[in-house]
Each structure stands twice: as C-alpha cells, then as structure tokens.
Symmetry: C2
Subunit: 302 residues, 2 copies
C-alpha cells in the first residue's frame, strides 16, 4: 500500500503519490493554497487535484503538512512546543478520516518562545526541516526558509530549539501591489535587477529604519530619476536586507526553498558576509516520508 | 477682495474662505483627497465643494497646498530644495488659472538629501510648518507631522533644513486591512487601548526588527491568547514605536497634526523620554495666510 503526501500551504498545493517504500510515483502542484479554498471545501479540492491517487485499495491514507492544519485550514493540528524534533512531530500527528473513511493525518506546527517572552509559530517549515536534518548533522545550525513569512530557525542536535518569523514576502506583496510605491512600480517581468537589489541591501544598513527606507523607493523615482523598472528589486533588496541584518548577524545560514528565492537571499547574505548553503527544495517531501516511516504508514513493499 | 485657501492632500480636502485681511469667514472639509478624484476632474471637485466662494467679484483666487501639486494632482508644482523657508516657498508658487480665468496658485513641495545621499520629498507639510514657525523661534528644532507618510523635520532659524519620511500610517492601513494580521483584527471602534499600545511601543525596542515584530501580533493571538480587540493598538504601538526610536532619539519633538494622532505620538514619545509640544492643528491655514500676505494676494481690507 502506498500513501499520498501533501504540502498544503497558504498559496500553494504540492502532492506526491508514494509507493509502499516511500518512492515517488507521481507528483502534482497547483496554485490551490488554503486561501483559494472557499467554504471549507478542502476534501473537494484534494479530490479534484489528486482524486485518482486516493483509491483505498492502493493508498493507505493522506499525510499533510502546512497551513492546512491551521485555524483557517481543514482541521486544526495543535502546535508542539519547541524544542521539537522527529519524535515530537511524529507523536503529535493529528488524525482524522475523509468522508469515505480513508485515514488522513496532519503534521503539527511548532511554537516557540523568544528570550523576550514573545511567542512565534510555524506550520509546514518543521516538515521541510526534518527533510534536511540528515544534511546538517549534530551541533547548532541557523536555517532560513524564505517566503511570505520567512522563518529563521535554530536547530541543535536534530531538534528545532527556537525560531523567528519575518513578514518579508507579505510586506513586499502588499507594498508592491497596494501602496503608493505601486504607482511607480511596473509588474514583475521575472528579471532580476542585481544592481537595484544590491542598492536596497546596502540602504538597509543606513540609519533611519525600514519605515523611512521604504519611502525612499518613491522619493528616488520622483527626484533622482531612479528608473521605475528598478524599484521592484530595490524594494526587494531593502526588505531582504533588513531581514538578514536582523536575523543572520554574519553567521553561516542554511537556505531551504525555491531556487529563485534562495538565490536572492544567498546574494544578500554574501554582501553581509554570511556564508550560505542551499538545500534540496523538495525537503518537504523528504520530511513527510520520514514521518510516514516512523509512524509505520508505509508498508515497506513497493 | 478675499481669497480661498485649500489644503488638498491624498485623502482629505480642507478649505477656508478668507476676507482681505486673512480672517476666516467660513471653513469646509470633506473626504475628497486627490485619490478620490477621477479623470483629473479637480476643478469640478473644487467647484462642487466650495463653488459659492469662487465668485471673481469677491475672491482674487485660490491658493492651494498639498498633494494637489504632485504628479498625481492637478498641476505639478516643482520641488524647492531644502534649506527652504518662507521666502523660498513664496517665490516658488506655481501659478495657473481656472477655466473662467480665476487665478490659482499651488505652494511647492520641498526636497531634501540625507547625509547618505538619498532623497526625500514633502508636499503640504511645508505649509503647516510655516504656520508654526512663529511658535518655534530661532535655533534648531525637531518637528514630527504624523500621518500616512509621517514627516520628521529639522527646522533651523525659520527654515526647513532636512527631513525624513516614515511610511507608518500607510503600513498600518495596509497591514490592518490586507495582511494576515487583519484576519484576527476587528474594525476600528475609535477606542484607544493604552495598554496594548504601550506593549507595542515596548516591543519595538527589542531585537529582531520590524518585519519580525509584526508577525508577533498574529502569534500572540494564536498561542498566548492576546485578545483580538487588542491587536489594533498593539500594531499601532509597534509601528509608532519603531518610527519614534529611529527618528526622535530622546530629543524634544514639536508635534503638528490632529489631536487624536498627536496624542498617540505624545504617549509613545513620553515612554521613550522625549519631551513634546503639540501645536495648532490648523497650522496649514496659518501657513497659507502667511504666503498669501507675502505675495500680496490679500488686499488688507476686510
């Protein structure tokens, strides 16, 4: 019997059909994050995307991670407090059943408390981190999982011991679409203007703070003739620069995420003299397979 | 002959009917900022709001300040570079005429260059500043004009010598309406939750940076049971706290703006041990009258 593994986030849906050994038979991805699902119709969307994989004669269930386990998701999987590693995450699986009785599980998120006492939470990244643990080894490591809500995570001896979320991606999206900066910012062409990005990273180190630096994106277009086409990557560099200065502080950073996004962070971190290593973007799949094995959800036969 | 004075900003329209001595005969305000004006119909909106004041037998023209002089406004009034005082602003008036020949003038904005070389711009605040110059006297003063784009301005011996814009109000609006924080944030009741605001101001002084601190507004609701009703003023305190820490640095601050907003800044600045003075919220009118006098636009007779 195989299994269906799903990384179901705020904006994206990625699924893998696994055989009984954990090998990938097929994969599927769509822009069907939980925000696109109306009226709680998560099972209908799951079946619409990968219904042909959910045959109970060949599939023992569906194992999911990500925002699908949040209060805005399908079922809320309570947070496991840090420090948390493979044992705590496997033990914390939230189990339920689809309408036809097929078993479903959601990997719990992780909560942490900073030295200041303020709480933080993650959902989905804990599973990606499980996927790269073998590449990290023992000792303490700093990881960055960039995105809408970037996570900066400390892993010690194979367990998540603490982390901090930065709203970098969401801030970029809001300001490039809805703020006054959007009026002089063209749409995304997919190009990467290295020089504009570097200008933003450098600017992030000057006095005045982020709220002030962001206005400079507009003022420099109005007065100093910054090309409107350059404002996108200038803003991106500004935000990534602020994030990396606050979170990396010159340490070695393990980057996990899409190639395009981790390349951007690698570029900024190099300017700030932080060495970086980029890891497998399919870390979520590896983490889900690890959990499935440890809970006996895979039969071991193809 | 009298004059019509208008402070026409991004979101608001305020007008005063003045007699020949500069005394206010009537005042009018509406939510008809330049963003609400479609297709460049500024004259139609002006006449719709205060058309009865624009009789050429009793009115010598209309004197305007604010974003109405921006690229997105009626006519672009070029920026005057700092240092700029009453003489430079009066000399820089942009003159044109309404369709019936009635004269119109727009006060120029001011541009400045920070020590880092980055430009900044203001429109409308320069006129408010003219209005409080008599209350400041000689020497160097730090002013804060809070709002969508807060201005922190250095005035020396009656002239604007430099300033920095912080996108505090716009960031608050975007995050409270469109971000993931909005999902656990109720609408504005008009109440001021002092304790939540103070919590935000204190948090702004901890390590991690603004992009991280903002996510805490969500995490503390999810995990630590922060009341959803408290998230609005917590976010407000966080943003105002970041702004004031970057801009005030313990110095005495002269606040110019609405009573509700300057009270909020006064509260935060007191926590950061910056003494404050609040000035006349009608500073724009006083500044416009000053410019009208210096350019001979008022006859001197009632």
């Amino acid at each position: 019997m195989g299994l269906v593994a799903v990384d179901w986030g705020t904006s994206g849906f990625r699924a893998w059909q696994l055989d009984g050994t954990g090998r990938t038979l097929a994969r599927h991805a769509a822009d069907r994050g939980i925000l696109s699902v109306d009226g709680g119709a998560f099972e209908a969307v799951l079946r619409g995307q990968v219904g042909q994989w959910l045959d109970p004669r060949r599939c023992s269930g569906v194992l999911m991670s990500g925002m699908i386990g949040s209060r805005q998701g399908w079922q809320e999987a309570p947070y496991v407090p840090a420090p948390a590693g493979p044992a705590e995450l496997s033990a914390g699986l939230h189990a339920f059943a689809l309408t036809d009785g097929l078993p479903a599980w959601i990997v719990p998120g992780v909560s942490a408390r900073a030295a200041s006492g303020v709480r933080d939470v993650m959902r989905g990244e804990e599973t990606q981190i499980l996927g790269i643990l073998p590449a990290l080894g023992a000792g303490e490591h700093l990881l960055c999982l960039p995105g809408t809500h970037s996570k900066w995570v400390t892993v010690r001896d194979g367990r998540i011991t603490g982390f901090a979320t930065h709203m970098t991606g969401e801030t970029f999206a809001l300001f490039s679409k809805h703020s006054i900066l959007a009026r002089t910012m063209p749409g995304d062409t997919g190009d990467f203007d290295t020089s504009a990005f570097e200008k933003g990273v450098r600017r992030s180190g000057e006095p005045g703070g982020l709220l002030h630096h962001m206005f400079g994106v507009r003022a420099e277009v109005l007065v100093d003739g910054l090309a409107e086409a350059a404002t996108r990557d200038y803003l991106s560099g500004l935000l990534v620069g602020h994030e990396c200065r606050a979170a990396a502080a010159g340490r070695t950073v393990h980057l996990v995420g899409s190639a395009a996004l981790t390349a951007r962070y690698q570029h900024a971190l190099a300017m700030l003299e932080s060495p970086t290593t980029r890891h497998d973007p399919d870390a979520a799949l590896i983490g889900l397979v690890h959990i499935a094995r440890s809970r006996g959800l895979l039969t071991g036969r193809p």
